[in-house]
């Protein structure tokens, strides 16, 4: 193995151990309550900030951890191995909001906001989706109209992670013609800006500790200094942000699948039927073999995308493949996990029903499976 690979492996092992120690103490004991009550545990995110988990990719000069995507994959998957909803929130904070500012913010914006985000003092949100435009986000209806040094925003966004508890929001809104991919612009909006508020919080199937709400803009005036990059670049920027974000959703799916498999292996060894552990039935052990093989393949795709990203190579196709495959197998693996647990798997006393519910988000968020297939097919047909 190359020296570089050894360093990455050793760092990843240390990060893995750190997150396992942290999660057993700070996440596992509370996750069932958070899940039941849909509580978004803000203090937990401050603690993760102190550990450097809220600015994994942010360079040291902005008080971040300065790591690459390989380590980031480890962070998200290890958190999700315990609780997918916390993994989703950490991913949305790091890749989407923080990632957008990091890639496209100017120096003054980065100096002003990245240290707060990287330390977890502020929680970040990112708003692209609207009630009527999800997969087809480019046809968005929320508009910003120029008025001197200000832009006046009207409209709404929905399904926004941290839409209520977020402190800073990167939102992509229309500044030009509908249908023109250069007709949209990104702005950052700080909580409390007049005319900006959060609406309804979704009551969800899974990922319940991760807050998802609506954002409402009513004559919200935003200074032009809050524009990220140039006018008209917002949508193009967001596609690039999503290229990286998809790697984090692949990691999220991978972690959920792994958590479900590990729980299944233990259970299958302990649960006896017909006088034997159920793991001794080929019908069960073959399921475990399939689950493990799919997880291994998903990890290879995800690590491959991370490697390309770390080497600044094109990653659109590979990150879409990783996201598509890992999220689909996360659903399959957690479904089989419930099956292996039998009736107990269907109850809240065992962990697998939560993996099952949480996993489904992965085939939807940050571009559905169908949209990933569009991205992949376009790339191979080009």
């Amino acid at each position: 193995m190359s020296k570089e690979a050894t360093v990455v492996n050793e760092n990843n092992a240390m990060i893995r151990d750190m997150i396992r120690d942290f999660a057993e103490k700070e996440i596992r004991p509370h996750m069932r309550v958070w899940d039941e009550t849909q509580e978004f545990p803000v203090p937990l995110f401050r603690k993760m900030g102190a550990l450097g988990l809220m600015g994994v990719l942010v360079p040291h000069e902005y008080d971040g951890s300065g790591f690459g995507y390989q380590e980031y994959v480890t962070v998200i998957s290890e958190i999700a191995r315990v609780d997918g909803s916390i993994g989703l929130s950490v991913a949305a904070h790091n890749s989407l909001c923080t990632g957008h500012l990091l890639q496209f913010g100017n120096e003054a914006q980065k100096k002003k906001w990245l240290p707060k985000l990287a330390s977890g003092e502020w929680i970040g949100a990112w708003g692209l989706t609207e009630p009527n435009t999800g997969s087809d986000a480019a046809r968005m209806n929320t508009v910003a109209v120029k008025d001197g040094d200000y832009y006046v925003i009207n409209g709404s966004k929905n399904f926004i992670t941290h839409g209520k508890s977020g402190d800073i929001f990167v939102v992509i809104v229309r500044t030009g013609e509908k249908g023109d991919s250069r007709g949209m612009t990104a702005f950052s909006i700080v909580k409390g800006t007049p005319g900006f508020s959060s609406g309804r919080k979704e009551d969800k199937l899974g990922m319940r500790a991760s807050e998802t709400t609506e954002l409402i803009f009513e004559d919200c005036r935003v200074h032009k200094d809050n524009m990220i990059g140039a006018e008209g670049e917002g949508f193009i920027q967001s596609l690039k942000v999503l290229d990286g974000g998809r790697i984090s959703i692949a990691a999220l799916a991978l972690g959920i699948a792994r958590g479900a498999l590990e729980a299944s292996i233990i259970y299958a060894g302990q649960r006896h039927q017909f006088g034997k552990p159920i793991a001794s039935f080929q019908g069960i052990s073959f399921k475990l073999a399939d689950m493990a093989t799919k997880i291994e393949a998903a990890e290879l795709l995800t690590r491959r995308a991370a490697e390309l990203k770390d080497n600044h190579q094109p990653v659109t196709k590979e990150s879409a493949m990783a996201k598509y495959y890992a999220s689909e197998i996360a659903v399959e693996v957690s479904t089989e996990a419930v099956q292996i647990f039998g009736g107990y798997g269907y109850t809240k006393d065992y962990p697998v029903e939560k993996y099952y519910r949480d996993s489904k988000l992965c085939t939807i968020g940050e571009g559905t499976t169908e949209i990933q297939k569009i991205v992949i097919s376009r790339s191979i047909l080009a």
Partner: protein
């Protein structure tokens, strides 16, 4: 204040233990290694002292190159530099002699160790190092505060605690709750690589003992499952077979 923390590289507490070579060698196959749990508390207390009153922390380990990831974890938690004494830690006296040699002219105010290793559980290295350096050593230290040149210590004794004060330098074998257990943060993990890890050769040392062989406790017997409907059967088995009633 200059603090030396001695750390062991030991199998994770959940490891399955096996031996090879006619029960004379530990089988390290598939074993995950950690910083000895008591040593971990010693590191954590050193970092707390560094944060509260300023100190430089050196960690030392007697071991081969495979212990370096464990050493770097201590650097990630907050030690400033590290020394690896490049030798197999063959017995307690050998290890103590190596540590004493590194420490003797380096002016450490505090030498912190774990109360005991968790692989061979000798609980003696701190005592021997103290003796070799002609400074005091105290063990089972559960509280350690420094006031000027004087340490205030609480140590665990059979059935209670003993409070003592002594002047630095000295050696302490630490245990919980001496410090809040620490996990490294991302910044620490990244900077661990850029901190000095100096590898030094061991000094010649007599071996005072020789390993003959290891022995595992007898394996646990098979479990018999008794239907809760048949309590009489359970009672009879406990009486006649297990002979515990």
């Amino acid at each position: 204040m200059k603090i030396l923390v001695c750390i062991t590289h030991v199998p994770d507490t959940t490891s399955r233990i096996a031996f090879t070579d006619g029960d004379t060698k530990f089988d390290s196959n598939g074993v995950q290694y950690i910083i000895g749990p008591y040593d971990d508390y010693a590191v954590a207390r050193a970092v707390e002292l560094k944060e509260s009153q300023g100190a430089t922390i050196t960690v030392v380990n007697v071991g081969r190159v495979e212990t370096e990831p464990t050493i770097r974890k201590a650097l990630a938690i907050g030690a400033d530099d590290a020394i690896r004494i490049n030798a197999e830690p063959e017995d307690s006296y050998f290890v103590a002699k190596q540590i004493a040699n590194v420490a003797k002219d380096s002016g450490y105010d505090l030498i912190l160790m774990g109360r005991e290793s968790i692989d061979f559980n000798g609980g003696v290295v701190h005592g021997i190092v103290g003796e070799l350096l002609e400074i005091p050593s105290v063990s089972s230290v559960m509280k350690l505060d420094i006031d000027g040149n004087v340490a205030k210590i609480a140590r665990e004794i059979e059935g209670g605690k003993e409070y003592i004060e002594l002047e630095m330098p000295f050696v302490a074998g630490c245990q919980e709750p001496i410090a809040e257990w620490k996990i490294p943060n991302m910044r620490g993990i990244m900077t661990a690589r850029s901190k000095p890890l100096n590898v030094v050769d061991p000094v010649d040392t007599d071996h005072l003992d020789k390993l003959v062989r290891f022995e595992l406790p007898p394996p646990k017997g098979d479990i018999k499952m008794i239907d809760p409907e048949h309590m009489e059967e359970l009672v009879s088995l406990l009486k006649n077979e297990a002979k515990v009633l």
